[in-house]
Amino acid sequence: MSGFTLPSASLLSQSILSGVFVGALYGLMGLGLSLSWGLLRLINLAHFAFAFLAAYLCYQMATMGVDPLLTLLVIVPAFFAIGAGLHWVMARFRVTPFNSLLLTFGLMGIAEAIIQTIWTADFRKLESSYGEMKFKIGGLFVPIPEFITLLLAVGISLAVWAVLRYTDLGKAMRAAAEDAPIASAFGVNQQRNALLLAGTCAALASIAGVCLALSFTLAPSQMYAWIGVVFAAVMLGGLGRALGPLIAGTLIGVSEAVTMAVTAPSWAPIVSFTLLIVILVLRPGKAA
């Protein structure tokens, strides 16, 4: 067992910052998952496959000299179409929530095989002009790729929140999640909205994938490593809530980073998951 060593204040704040950055990625990954689970009642494991496929596509285009952020222009519409297509199939066969979990697990396996065939099982790291750049604020180092991720995560989560809360489309989607037949009776075109939402979720996954490629080393089997912690962020944040995954993800990221700084990296999962268990048991109504 590793003993407690109290790190210096600057080390601690640096690790809190890195916790915020990784938490933002948890949140961005979780956003689409949460929307699809909460509003479409589909537990989409393929979300992780989408994110990794997007990450590899971004990597591929970047090696050909395209700026990683510009690849979003191609990747986002492509994944929107894929997500909508997948939802069309699921709706056509009336797949139940738990069967959707299994079906998309199957998709994950296929995606892993595709990635492994094209890019091999070796680790890949995207190189870009600003990949290694960082700036300094008040004694803390801020790496540019992580900073971009944070900005995107906050911006997109706020935008989705605003759309769900204030627009007719968002209200229609929330109404359809509550009671689809009644919403239809009030003139909500549920099928079109569901396709739109499913496409958006996949597009969000692809954006998270690009952010992943910016700051992480990629390997096909890595996609399974994200499931546990992103699911934790999603459920902690509340299903179908736009800001929930970001807030919960940041909480988890920071608690992990602090644990790593205070004890050893191998203890990191215990804090986040214990936190999750405690919150779920004490306030089950608040989550999900």
Binding site: M1, S2, V89, F93, V95, T96, F98, N99, L101, L102, L103, F105, G106, L107, M108, G109, I110, E112, A113, I114, Q116, T117, Y224, I227, G228, F231, A232, M235, A264, S266, W267, A268, P269, I270, F273, T274, L276, I277, L280, V281, P284, G285, A287, A288
Partner: protein, 581 residues
């Protein structure tokens, strides 16, 4: 019925001769893996498939057994076979500790349970990897001798797994056909309704979890020695639970043998693809097969096959039942209390929901043999009254005494067992059980009959009583509203209650259906049950009730005979509002 366990044991004995065939060792290993996954998937299904509480923590329980055995072997030099019961006990203890906390929380249902169990996996994995149990480098068991049960090492593992699988299948079958299993399936469909009908839901879930974990622990113990080198990274992951979920859903979670079918299919698939050089193509292939299976066989392979061959497992007994004489079963006169005595005495009953006071202290007495009408505008506390008396809600204050026994604060299933039954305004049948089994469940749990066959037999008489005997084999979804309401009545009666609380049984029925229902309610009273009748249909209230009480804003407003009470100005005000002068 008794043929099945013989077939399981027979198959186990026959398969025990496989090592004698002298097949190459890798067949032993393949067969071992199949049996290993049969144990894991089938044990998972006992809790998760039967009750619908999907656990993603099977890796944790499996891992608990695995690390128990490896620790006992490597540090304490225990003989291998003696570690297996300990592995089972440790895994079961872990499960019970988790369940005792989690199942007490009312809000923790399906999805939350799935996540909690997933989180537990990582928590335990982290603890194991950071303590001397593992130490971060894994535990090597290569120095541990493998007991010489079979002719070779690989055949020993095969035989051990075969024994575990045979035991697991026997247990899975025994639960499936028992009263216990019926209770678990009822929890799957509607846990609250099951509890109100007398199923001790908390205890049942805990038992199922304990058995499930113990078997996973045994599988883990055997697997520890099979691997001979164990690491946290391969055990406490999402891979184990996902694989067992996959196998069970593919095979069919609503059948005891479904997970085994799925386990054999998937292990064979995995093997046939990964054994060859195209492991990557194999991964994709498994994905494709899985997707096809989910899309075209959403209930699993086994139910699909059953449908093809026209076998109906559960409904068979109902259809074959000969129509018996309509006997009006008389109530057992357990206590010599004459009609007119107080059966249920409710004093000062209060119920608040976070500041909303649904009941503000009502006193109600129900006399034996009467039909008491419970009236009041919407939101006056009638349904809350029923929910509190039947134990679905705990009262905030007050006392409930039934037949001289204080029932205040008792669990719903205890109240059901002491002779109180209810119906729901919107019928809540168990959707996946046949009409007959819906009623048989109440017979078993409310009426304390242990034998499933006897329960079905008696349930049939209640279906005849309510005129539903033609529908015995149907699913509740196939019934119309009128029939579903009668099914509610049959279910309530099947537990032989002394007191039945009817929550708006007539709501939504046509006038002629109301006449049928009124006649049926009279017959219910005549066979000896006392009735509390919540209703808005005044015609029926006037025709049926001996006495009525009126609630308004959670208080008792009036009490007396129906014709008298409904004339009173305060009652008319409550229903119709005040005239503006």
């Amino acid at each position: 019925m008794k043929r099945t366990p013989l077939i399981i044991v027979g198959a186990g004995v026959l398969l025990a001769f496989v090592p004698k065939l002298g097949l190459p060792a890798f067949y032993d290993s393949l067969l071992y893996l199949m049996l290993h996954w049969i144990v894991l998937a089938t044990s998972w299904n006992m809790l998760s498939g039967y009750t619908g509480y999907f656990s993603f923590g099977h890796g944790a329980f499996f891992g608990a057994g695995l690390y128990t055995t490896s620790t006992l072997l490597s540090r304490y030099d225990w003989p291998f076979l003696w570690t297996l019961p300990v592995a089972a006990a440790v895994a079961a203890l872990l499960g019970v500790a988790l369940g005792a906390v989690v199942f007490r929380v009312k809000g923790v249902r399906g999805e939350l349970f799935a996540l909690l169990t997933l989180a537990i996996t990582f928590v335990i994995g982290t603890i194991v990897v950071n303590t001397p149990l593992d130490g971060g480098n894994g535990v090597s068991l290569s120095a541990v001798p493998v007991p010489a049960i079979g002719p070779t090492q690989s055949s020993t593992f095969y035989l051990l797994a075969l024994a575990a699988a045979t035991l697991t299948m026997l247990i899975a079958w025994a639960i499936f056909v028992s009263k216990f299993g019926a209770g678990l399936f009822a929890i799957h469909d509607d846990e609250d309704a099951a509890e109100v009908m007398g199923v001790p839901t908390y205890r049942y879930k805990l038992y199922a979890l304990a058995i499930s974990c113990a078997l996973a622990g045994v599988a883990g113990g055997i697997h520890a020695l099979f691997l001979s080198y164990v690491t946290v990274g391969e055990v406490f992951t999402i891979a184990v639970p996902l694989t067992v979920v996959l196998m069970s859903v593919l095979g069919g979670t609503r059948h005891w043998a479904g997970p085994a079918v799925g386990a054999v299919a998937i292990t064979a698939l995995l093997y046939s693809f990964t054994a060859a050089d195209h492991a990557v193509a194999g991964k994709a292939m498994i994905g494709v097969i899985l997707i096809a299976a989910i899309l075209f066989m959403p209930d699993g392979i086994l139910p699909r096959l059953q449908k093809l061959f026209g076998q109906r497992m559960l409904a068979a007994t109902g259809a074959a039942h000969p129509p018996s004489q309509i006997v009006t079963p008389a109530m057992p006169t357990t206590k010599a209390i004459a009609a007119g005595d107080v059966l249920l005495r409710v004093r000062g009953l209060q119920k608040s929901f976070k500041g909303v006071r649904a009941l503000t202290g009502v006193d109600v007495e129900v006399r034996r043999g009467e039909i008491l009408g419970l009236l009041g505008p919407n939101g006056s506390g009638k349904s809350t009254f029923i929910n509190v008396v039947t134990g679905h809600y705990l009262p905030s204050a007050g006392q409930i005494v039934f037949e001289g026994r204080d029932l205040t604060g008792r669990a719903a299933h205890e109240i059901a067992a002491s002779g109180i039954a209810r119906t729901y305004q919107i019928p809540r049948p168990f959707a996946h059980l046949s009409v007959l089994d819906n009623v048989a469940l109440a017979t078993m749990f409310g009426g304390a009959i242990h034998d499933v066959k006897a329960a079905r037999h008696q349930a049939m008489t209640w279906l005849e009583f309510t005129g539903l005997h033609d529908k015995a084999a149907a699913r509740p979804d196939d019934l119309n509203l009128h029939q579903r309401k009668f099914l509610e009545l049959a279910r309530a009666l099947a537990s032989r209650p002394r007191l039945v609380l009817l929550d708006e049984v007539l709501c939504g029925l046509t006038p002629s259906e109301i006449d049928d229902a009124v006649a049926l309610i009279r017959r219910i009273r005549d066979q000896g049950s006392t009735i509390v009748f919540v209703e808005h249909v005044m015609r029926a209230v006037m025709a049926l009730t001996d006495r009525i009480v009126v609630f308004n804003h959670g208080e008792l407003l009036a009490e007396g005979s129906a014709t008298d009470v409904m004339q009173r100005p305060e009652v008319m005000t409550a229903y119709l509002g005040k005239a503006h002068a």
